[in-house]
């Protein structure tokens, strides 16, 4: 058990960082929406799932096969752009149709949560029963689609002392970090970003100060959706296949990561994502991979017992109990 852990230490670290990068990107979407609306956006996982299909569609349409090296980076960027656009648009559409009417009527957060669950079921079924069948020609049950034929399996390895890093892991990590830096700059440096921060802090005052709240909320969903889309493209690099319920567990984990880091806190999502990815991989090398999710959720409970607002705390806004 411990031997496994020691032998597997570096591979699981690298794996954990790559996985954590994807969690972190998804967690950003949860955390931003939570920061602004105080809503657990359950449908975010399905926005991600739509993104994976958009990415797949783009490589299929392009008809590339066996790309590797720099061409691969180009293809990944293209996938990320298409998936980001579709997922971002989808997230905005979701906000306008499912959440805005509730928000306008001052509905309780619980009602919004149920609306989110409904929207999540709707998007999943829409993709599973209608879109996947029409566009990709597979049945709902056999709906697992992969990208093997399009990518050359990335066997190239970067060798750093005892550490072997595969190309795909490196690409996922770098891509995710780039997006996070971009997001951090956007939220901290731009006018819209300031709007988002002020709304998160105090929506009433933000409105009085002339912040267009609808626009802020839309932007939040758009940015979260784009992050999910990029995560979807990177997910393909790492896991190579998708289906219509791929978002579910990943979404729960990403939300866990967001809470772990301190929900509403953008840097917290980052810390939480990597922490969760690493701990999950260490946990599965210690206890066996079937206990991976149990380890993840037990750690969440443990961390929250000692740090009730997550590792970094809620800094995007004050806790409004």
């Amino acid at each position: 058990m411990l031997d496994d852990f020691i032998n597997q230490f570096w591979p699981s670290t690298i794996d954990g960082l790559a996985l954590g990068a994807i969690y972190a990107l998804l967690a950003l979407g949860y955390t931003m929406v939570y920061g602004v609306l105080r809503l657990i956006n359950f449908a975010h996982a399905d926005v991600f799932m739509v993104g994976t299909f958009a990415a797949l569609w783009s490589v299929r349409t392009l008809g590339v096969s066996d790309v590797g090296g720099f061409a691969l980076i180009g293809v990944v960027v293209l996938m990320a752009v298409v998936a980001g656009a579709v997922a971002g648009g989808g997230a905005m559409l979701l906000e306008v149709t499912a959440y805005r009417p509730l928000r306008k009527r001052g509905a309780s957060r619980l009602a919004a949560l149920i609306s989110a669950i409904g929207a999540s079921i709707f998007i999943q079924q829409l993709m599973g029963a209608v879109v996947v069948h029409r566009v990709f020609g597979t049945s709902k049950e056999g709906g697992k689609l992969d990208v093997n034929e399009h990518f050359k399996k990335l066997s190239d390895v970067v060798d750093v002392g005892p550490i072997l890093i595969r190309n795909d892991q490196l690409l996922v990590f770098v891509g995710a970090v780039l997006m996070m830096v971009a997001l951090d700059q956007f939220v901290n440096r731009t006018k819209l970003g300031r709007g988002i921060r002020s709304t998160a802090q105090d929506p009433e005052t933000a409105v009085l100060m002339g912040v267009n709240i609808d626009r802020v909320v839309s932007t939040t969903f758009l940015v979260g959706g784009i992050m999910a889309g990029v995560a979807a493209a990177l997910y393909f690099l790492r896991f190579e296949s998708t289906n219509y319920f791929v978002g579910f567990l990943l979404g729960i984990k990403a939300f866990t990561a967001a809470v772990l880091g301190g929900i509403g806190n953008i840097r917290g999502a980052l810390v939480g994502g990597f922490t969760l990815g690493l701990l999950e991989m260490y946990g599965s090398s210690l206890f066996g991979s079937q206990w991976r999710d149990v380890v993840a959720f037990s750690l969440l409970i443990l961390v929250l017992m000692f740090r009730p607002t997550g590792i970094l705390g809620e800094s995007l806004q004050q806790a409004r109990a």
């Binding site: 939570y34 920061g35 602004v36 609306l37 105080r38 809503l39 657990i40 359950f42 149709t97 499912a98 959440y99 509730l102 928000r103 306008k104 001052g106 509905a107 309780s108 957060r109 619980l110 009602a111 919004a112 949560l113 149920i114 609306s115 669950i117 409904g118 929207a119 079921i121 709707f122 079924q125 029963a129 209608v130 709902k140 709304t199 998160a200 929506p203 009433e204 709240i213 802020v216 909320v217 579910f248 729960i252 939300f255 866990t256 809470v259 929900i263 079937q290 206990w291 999710d293 149990v294 959720f297 037990s298 969440l300 409970i301 929250l304 017992m305 009730p308 607002t309 409004r320 109990a321």
Partner: protein, 389 residues
């Protein structure tokens, strides 16, 4: 701050508000609150008789026309969901704690029944009490370390707990992992007596009506129990926690203790549902306890009108019935179901049948569950707000 709903004499946008007012249950409520005691008891009696007559074929033809067996739909889906919703309502509706992993307690009940009946030969009734105790205990075990967390942190922890229970069952060879436990005995037949062509105390394979009656009994007990609690000191403590936990604490309400009690009671009711489920199905596996079940029960509670017992029962029954009723639509039924959830929330965010107290709270604030952050009215709405005052 809620600017749109204090609209006395406010016509509101289009006919929407008028339509909503027509749906109002207030005349009924007034009649009910002034009704004398014997009338109330008569109504309760009629409701129980209605519940007993529900598996009737004539009702079944309307409710389940596509050939599916109406009594088994009632017992497998509707009655179980109603019972679970009553339990979750204690946690969410009364104490205001958001629980996204309620299915865990249902699973604890089901697995306790399965293990003790198949491995130790306990009878249904013995296992039932043990399972209820275990489910309540698991509520305490989860609650003790986590109930100091607020709001959505609690939500994610309970969600995590639900997944932990499911995956542990999935990974343990003791309960056959993903294949689950088979050969769980039916409850022992208490009597063979027959009335109107039913043997209500003979628990067999073919007729699911006895299970429905058993669940009906559980539901009635749960209603009485919960209703008594609601009117007691405990219920008032829960309401105060739901509305403002800090204020409740300052007023001397031991909030932690009462939250723990809500968790344990809700869990025990959920556990009893799991027992009946396991003994009727005779086999259970971890796939019976997906997150979706938690989500649907919660949706039933909120859709019906969180905190109001008849409303919660109505909501759960509707949500359990809809997907079964429209099985004919096969692939599209869950699609429509998801859309229906969103639409119902848009048109009746306070639920189909909210309690009067809750409705008043909602009109003032948000009924203790807090509002969405950016719920401040936009520029277009300030005018309505002025008029509404």
């Amino acid at each position: 701050m809620n600017l749109t709903k204090n609209g006395n004499g406010n016509d509101g946008p289009g006919g929407l508000r008028a339509a909503r007012d027509r749906l109002s249950l207030d005349p009924l409520r007034n009649a009910w609150s002034t009704a004398p005691g014997p009338v109330r008891w008569a109504v309760y009696l009629l409701l129980v008789i209605g519940g007993l007559l529900l598996p009737n074929q004539a009702i079944g033809e309307f409710m389940a026309p596509s050939g599916s067996d109406w009594p088994s739909m009632l017992s497998n889906q509707i009655a179980i969901y109603v019972l679970l919703a009553l339990g979750l309502n204690v946690v969410v509706g009364m104490a205001g704690l958001l629980d996204l992993g309620y299915v865990a307690f249902y699973a604890v009940g089901g697995y306790t029944m399965a293990i003790f009946a198949t491995k130790y030969g306990w009878s249904f009734w013995e296992s039932l009490f043990l399972a209820i105790a275990f489910a309540g205990l698991s509520g305490l075990i989860l609650g003790a370390p986590t109930l100091r967390l607020r709001g959505d942190y609690l939500a994610i922890v309970t969600l995590g707990f639900g997944e932990i229970v499911k995956r542990t069952a999935n990974n343990s060879s003791y309960v056959n992992g993903p294949r689950g436990v088979q050969g769980i005995p039916h409850p022992p037949t208490l009597s063979e007596f027959e009335i109107f062509g039913v043997q209500p105390l003979k628990y067999g394979l073919l007729d699911s009506r006895p299970y429905y009656y058993l669940l009906l009994l559980f539901i009635i007990i749960a209603i009485i129990f919960v209703k008594r609690l609601e009117r007691s000191r405990v219920g008032r403590a829960w309401a105060s926690i739901r509305e403002d936990e800090d204020a409740a604490e300052l007023m001397g309400v031991p909030t932690f203790k009462f939250k723990l009690a809500a968790f344990a009671i809700g869990a025990a009711i959920g556990g009893s549902g799991g027992v009946v489920f396991a003994s009727q199905q005779t086999s259970i596996n971890p796939q019976n306890f997906e997150f979706l079940v938690s989500a649907l029960i919660l949706a039933g509670v909120v859709l019906g009108g969180s905190g109001n017992i008849p409303g919660v029962m109505l909501g759960a029954a509707v949500l359990a019935w809809l997907p079964e009723r429209f099985r004919g639509l096969s692939d599209y039924r869950m699609l429509i179901f998801g859309a229906a959830l969103v639409l119902m929330m848009i048109f009746r965010p306070e639920g189909l049948w909210p309690s009067r107290q809750r409705k008043a709270e909602l009109a003032e604030g948000t009924g203790g569950m807090g509002s969405m952050g950016a719920e401040v009215a936009g520029p277009g709405q300030t005018v309505t707000a002025e008029e509404g005052k």
